[in-house]
């Protein structure tokens, strides 16, 4: 591949911006006009065509799945939610926030009260017209004493929701939050029709472009285009079939033999072989999903920051990326903010941490230790290859005089018995679209999922300040500082961010693919089309 092609690819995948593209290709000696037209060519995709039935093979899904967004639990049901439900706002395929069921929104200057104006004339699959009361009921479905919702912590900052007339909803927050419109785009917060103030959560009725024709949990869902869909330029397929194919070999075979048109979770070990198939293309997006090794900073020896730093320096991230993810990812820098996040600290803001045995030894010595023996708990329930990653870590750390004892935990009950309990364990994070959301979920003092039990005064102060800060430049500076603090003083080793790797039949067309979640931000059915 020439350098030129390489930049085109990067631009297509959204890895570099248009401006960067111009700059870099100018260095190759292209005129701006030529570069502009080429950029347009690279960015252009064929005009979407209507028709066809998309068959998606998804590597998750279980007989126990329910249509209730409160218990959306795996990629299958989450993707189905993305096809059936709209939210108030949507993270677009370029990562920007776009209005969905809300037409516009307005905060008060302290970002405490948010007023959302709803789109008019939106119809539910059962014929009901969308009103403010539906939105209130749908969000309240996750709140309150009896909520069993996985999204309860997300809606916890909301103090009050009120309908103001038929098409205005007013959210009052406990503290100011500039990112609230992002948060309300979460896949749990699907807008459902209400009846007597309660949301109808189990019938799978939404406002999106596809209605559920049949739902067999753990097997398949058949979807049909909803003729009265309000959104323009979306929902191109006549119908869609979402199949649960948990076995990766079966999924791959189904794609290569034309039984399905697209699959998620490509087997990384054989991805290069699959790419040779002339009917298949491999597509990957790098989002916010990442792996971590979380240390309990309230437990010895992890309460000593020098021990934590020693462990952070004693890991060869490149080697881990190469062997565990086969290169389908990006190395991490010991903080949870990914490349696709808006305020990601670039290498000039925060240098990349590298494998450095001397520095590891130095920090170990500073902690007053000549050697260190620690247990690292891992199971493949944390992420695929977690145990192998832990064993590699052990090898890397041994050179720095650190002895890691890898404890293989059972997959069953990993999240209830190991995570947040054992002093050091492997963890998977789907990531969050905003910095504040990610930090408040897993790094803020006292947060239920603060898996490093970490408390940092300056960090927590910045977190509150940045949340209500509406000035972009100031916010950026704050988030970069917070990433620096987490990287240098936090209790979490972040070896890498994993890509979402998907296999698509060549006839499937798409624009730039959303990277906030797998399968085009769970919107594959709505956004893709057959060429």
């Amino acid at each position: 591949m020439t350098e030129w092609d390489h930049y085109c690819k990067l631009l297509e995948r959204g890895k570099i911006s248009r401006r960067e593209f111009m700059g870099r290709t100018a260095a190759l000696g292209l005129t701006t006009a030529l570069a502009t037209s080429l950029a347009a060519k690279a960015a252009r995709a064929a005009t979407p065509k209507k028709g066809g039935t998309l068959r998606l093979g998804i590597g998750h899904g279980s007989t126990t799945d329910t249509l209730d967004p409160a218990t959306y639990e795996n990629l299958y049901i989450q993707s189905l939610g993305g096809a059936v439900h709209n939210k108030l706002t949507e993270v677009g395929n370029t990562g920007d926030l776009v209005p969905e069921l809300a037409e516009s929104w307005e905060p008060t200057p302290d970002a405490k009260v948010w007023t959302f104006k709803l789109r008019k004339g939106v119809e539910f699959h059962n014929g009901k017209t969308l009103e403010a009361a539906d939105v209130v009921a749908s969000i309240n479905h996750h709140r309150g004493e009896d909520s069993k919702s996985a999204a309860k912590p997300i809606v916890d900052p909301i103090a009050d929701i009120k309908a103001d007339g038929k098409d205005t909803v007013v959210f009052t927050m406990k503290t100011g939050n500039a990112d609230f419109p992002f948060i309300i785009s979460d896949y749990h917060l699907s807008i459902m029709p209400s009846k007597d103030g309660k949301a109808d959560a189990t019938s799978g009725i939404g406002t999106s472009g596809y209605t559920i024709e049949s739902f067999e949990p753990g097997v398949r869902t058949k979807l049909k285009r909803f003729p009265n869909y309000w959104k323009e330029g979306r929902a191109h397929f006549d119908a869609a079939e979402m199949l649960v194919i948990v076995d990766v070999t079966a999924r791959t075979n189904a794609l290569t033999t034309g039984e399905i048109d697209a699959m998620d979770r490509v087997d990384l070990k054989t991805a290069h072989l699959l790419a040779r198939n002339k009917n298949v293309k491999i597509v990957e997006t790098s989002g916010t999903a990442h792996y971590t090794f979380a240390m309990r900073t309230d437990t010895a020896p992890f309460d000593n920051n020098d021990v934590r730093l020693a462990l952070k320096y004693a890991l060869d991230r490149e080697a881990l990326l190469k062997s565990i993810l086969r290169g389908h990812g990006v190395i991490g820098n010991d903080h949870p903010i990914g490349l696709s996040n808006r305020y990601h600290a670039s290498a000039s803001d925060l240098p990349q941490r590298t494998y450095d045995v001397d520095k590891a030894k130095f920090h170990l010595k500073k902690a007053g230790l000549s050697n260190l023996k620690v247990d690292l708990s891992a199971a493949d329930a944390a992420f695929a290859g977690a145990v192998d990653a832990a064993v590699l870590y052990k090898e890397h750390a041994a050179k720095a005089g650190i002895e890691i004892n890898v404890v293989r935990e059972p997959n069953d009950g990993y999240w209830s018995n190991v995570w947040l309990k054992k002093p050091w364990c492997a963890v998977y994070w789907g990531g969050r679209p905003t910095e504040d959301w990610m930090f408040s979920t897993a790094y803020a003092a006292g947060a239920p999922w603060n898996d490093s039990f970490w408390e940092h005064e300056r960090f927590n102060k910045l977190l509150i300040e940045a949340r209500a800060e509406l000035d972009e430049a100031k916010r950026r500076a704050m988030y970069v500082e917070m990433q620096t603090i987490v990287s240098n003083e936090g209790g979490v080793v972040v070896p890498m961010f994993n890509n979402y790797v998907m296999g698509l039949s060549k006839k499937v067309q798409h624009e730039k693919m959303g990277s906030n979640w797998s399968l085009d931000g769970f919107r594959a059915v709505e956004r893709w089309w057959f060429g």
Binding site: T64, T66, K152, G218, R220, L243, V244, A250, G258, W415
Partner: protein, 318 residues
């Protein structure tokens, strides 16, 4: 004849007792596993409050014996209860899946049983010939490989290299009968390859065993043809052990095919069972287990009845 009816009644009563014990063991077993449905479903997103609210909603906060006896009370009234995870009626949930499982088992049996018995008879007829040896080698090899390997080999040759059959058995209730048969062909062939050897070898062995008996010698001396001796004289007397082996294999086709289901993404009972165990959906696990156990008990009973019917000495005891 009354003897047989008494025996059937006795065996059915014992079977009910067995089912009760099975349900008790399964319930205790799942109680011993770490975590419950709420933790399994909420996973990484679980917080103590949401787990508690979820448990209250499902009644999982009640003590185990209360839950077990409530479930047992329901079963005695013919009510399998509802799935904890998605509140669907278990009878519906299991019904569709069990029908799929039976369908696959039936197709596999229709192919494998006649094939195995014919091969067994032919092998006995041409004992130690090249034919006998090669049938033995082929069937024993196919039974020696793990099921998923046999399945992948079939997929490679019949779906990937030459696209004759679909690589996944994507069946749904609205499919026509023959379309369904076509789609389950690969899993049915896999199962056939796995079960043929056992039945074939048993047929061959029991026939050969009989060939040494005096009455066969008599038939030989009468000058009957070898095939007539085997089909008319030896086979009827060899039926009892053959039926037993066939029935064991049929039971296996119903309850032991979860790997084949996974490889071919076939929506059978096994997959439902595994999903439910992972999520600790106790009532569904219990329901599936009862069906599995009942299948074994009923098929064994059938085997015994058929053996008796095929043996005049047992049918008319002195």
């Amino acid at each position: 004849m009354t003897e047989i009816l008494t025996m059937v009644a006795q065996r059915l009563a014992l079977g009910l007792l067995t089912l009760f014990v099975v349900s008790l063991i399964i319930f205790l077993g799942i109680e011993l596993l770490p975590g419950d449905l709420t933790e399994a479903v909420l996973g990484q997103s679980a917080t103590p409050e949401t787990v508690a609210a979820f448990r209250r909603e499902l009644g999982l906060d009640l003590p185990p014996h209360t839950r077990y006896f409530e479930w047992l009370g329901g079963i005695l009234q013919g009510d399998f209860g509802k799935s904890l995870a998605n509140q669907r009626e278990i009878s519906e949930l299991i019904g569709v899946r069990f029908a799929n499982t039976l369908f696959l088992a039936a197709i596999a049996a229709i192919i494998s049983v006649p094939l195995a018995v014919t091969l067994g008879v032919l092998a006995a007829l041409h004992r130690n010939s090249f034919f006998d040896r090669s049938v033995n080698v082929v069937t024993l090899s196919s039974i020696s490989f793990p099921e998923f390997f046999v399945a992948y080999i079939l997929i490679l040759f019949l779906a990937v290299n030459v696209n004759i059959f679909p690589s996944i058995s994507n069946v749904s209730p609205d499919l026509g009968f023959w379309e369904r048969v076509y789609r389950v062909m690969l899993p049915a062939l896999t199962l056939t390859l796995v079960v043929v050897a056992h039945m074939m070898r048993m047929t061959r062995a029991s026939i050969i065993n009989l060939l040494a008996s005096p009455y066969i010698e008599m038939a030989n001396l009468k000058g009957l043809s070898r095939s007539r001796i085997i089909v008319h004289h030896a086979l009827p007397n060899a039926l009892a052990p053959i039926i037993n082996v066939i029935v064991i294999n049929l039971a296996y086709l119903v309850v032991g095919v979860v790997i084949v289901e996974v490889v071919f993404v076939y929506p059978g009972l096994g997959q439902l069972f595994v999903d439910s165990v992972i999520k600790r959906d106790v009532p569904v696990v219990q329901g599936s287990c009862l069906i599995f156990a009942a299948t074994y008990i009923l098929l064994n009973l059938t085997a015994d009845v058929l053996s008796i019917l095929s043996n005049p000495r047992l049918l008319h005891p002195k």
